[in-house]
Symmetry: C2
Subunit: 236 residues, 2 copies
DNA sequence: TATCGTAAACTGGTAGACCAATTAATAGCG
DNA sequence: CGCTATTAATTGGTCTACCAGTTTACGATA
């Protein structure tokens, strides 16, 4: 019952904010609004759409967040986007990242994780090694008890990602990983009992990073993710 | 002068919304608020911080967007986040993606672009090939005139990314690429004159994708990006 | 005493009024 | 006739009051 209700809620009527976002998107992608153009005032839009200014503001905030719009206080809101043609479907795509099929999410996580390991092996500082080591040990302790240790596992990978010295990769993974973990928790996919094997692989990855062996780090990380990727694909 | 002004604006006092976000983040990461806990009401928070409820709502909206909070209409807002330890620095990191150093952004764009090419070679449908072909031809036309054709170049890559059949990669690149292009435009870094060479590489990539030669596609794409990556690193 | 029903208090959602800064228009001066 | 200074209108930013659900507390009843 709960699930059925949830489904209905999903199909729910388009929210006011989404309506406005879509309309503005259309205005831009249809060429009525070009980059640099000033958007009609919030009051105008709210009246035009028959919706409160609150909603208009919310929509603008979101679009601004994606870099499509740029609002100048006490002056106006302008279209800041790049080539208009690219806008087609952009917003809906980004907005619906959470509904993206799960396999793609994991696939992306693997790609970025592997490359982060490669970079980490090249760039790690002594301080990085120390942090990774601590996280590794923390995971070890939990693994010994037989528990899954999702959080500790996550922290280990996080420290490697940080050692890659690429804040963008980190940010992007921060967008993706939480959703993956949440999905795992919800579906009850636990790697219970596999913890010690995972720890062993973690050890190998750590060693490769210590040795600054980028290829080995990437390869082992790839292998480490492989079974998860397989599992995920079979789910689909 | 403009730049100096921009710098001052950067150092500007912490905006009300950011203050609230930081405070809530602290509450969560310090353990005072655990996942599942209900947040104090908006009115409470606004009074507590001495800031209008509007700001509180805005902060909550942002945090909700990142999946940290979950607001239930007419009921309350709860902490929905994953492992709390992960929150440390999460928000500021994601929020400040636009200030991330540019080299990291390009590096990430290359990684995802190369892997997208690899996947595209494996998964491309006839329809994909058609779309890529059209974009390629479009770029060719512009290249013949000697112009840079930033937008047409972008579209070619976009079609490949779409052929990778991984919406998550597409979404993430959509977050990153516009900022890169914007930066290029601002700094006046144009690959003017290089267009025909780029077209030649595009051709090779297209051929590899047609042939479903994933390794070749990835390799050529990597080479294609290489000079840009070099250029970028030298800028830093 | 336990349980159910009702009402009051509280929740996030929304709309409108007000504010300060910016911009455009206009009147006055050279 | 052209330029500047002043003023009026417009902008996004903020706050306050109100709305419709939800939760909670309390009291009547069995």
């Amino acid at each position: 019952m709960q699930d059925n209700l949830a489904i209905f809620k999903e199909v729910e009527i388009e929210k006011p904010v989404d309506i406005i976002i879509r309309q503005i998107r259309d205005l831009i992608s249809s060429g009525k609004l070009k980059p640099g153009d000033r958007l009609p005032s919030e009051r105008m839009l709210s009246e035009r759409f028959g919706l409160g200014r609150t909603h208009v503001r919310e929509a603008i905030k979101k679009l601004e967040f994606y870099g499509i719009l740029k609002t100048q206080p006490q002056s106006g809101t302008v279209v800041a986007g790049i080539g208009i043609t690219a806008l087609e479907g952009l917003i809906s795509n980004i907005l619906k990242i959470e509904t993206s099929d799960f396999a793609s999410m994991v696939e992306t996580r693997v790609i970025l994780g592997v490359e982060a390991a490669r970079l980490a092996a090249q760039r790690r500082t002594p301080a990085d090694l120390e942090r990774i080591s601590v996280a590794l040990e923390s995971f070890h302790k939990v693994a010994l008890t037989g528990k899954a240790g999702v959080e500790e596992d996550f922290m280990f990978h996080m420290k490697i990602i940080e050692a890659s010295a690429n804040p963008v990769i980190k940010s992007l993974l921060m967008l993706v990983i939480p959703q993956i973990i949440e999905y795992y928790n919800k579906e009850g996919i636990c790697t219970q009992g596999e913890s010690m094997k995972a720890y062993d692989e973690h050890m190998q990855i750590f060693k490769a990073i210590v040795d600054q062996d980028a290829e080995a780090a990437a390869e082992i990380m790839n292998k480490h993710f492989h079974k998860i990727l397989e599992l995920t694909r079979s789910l689909k």
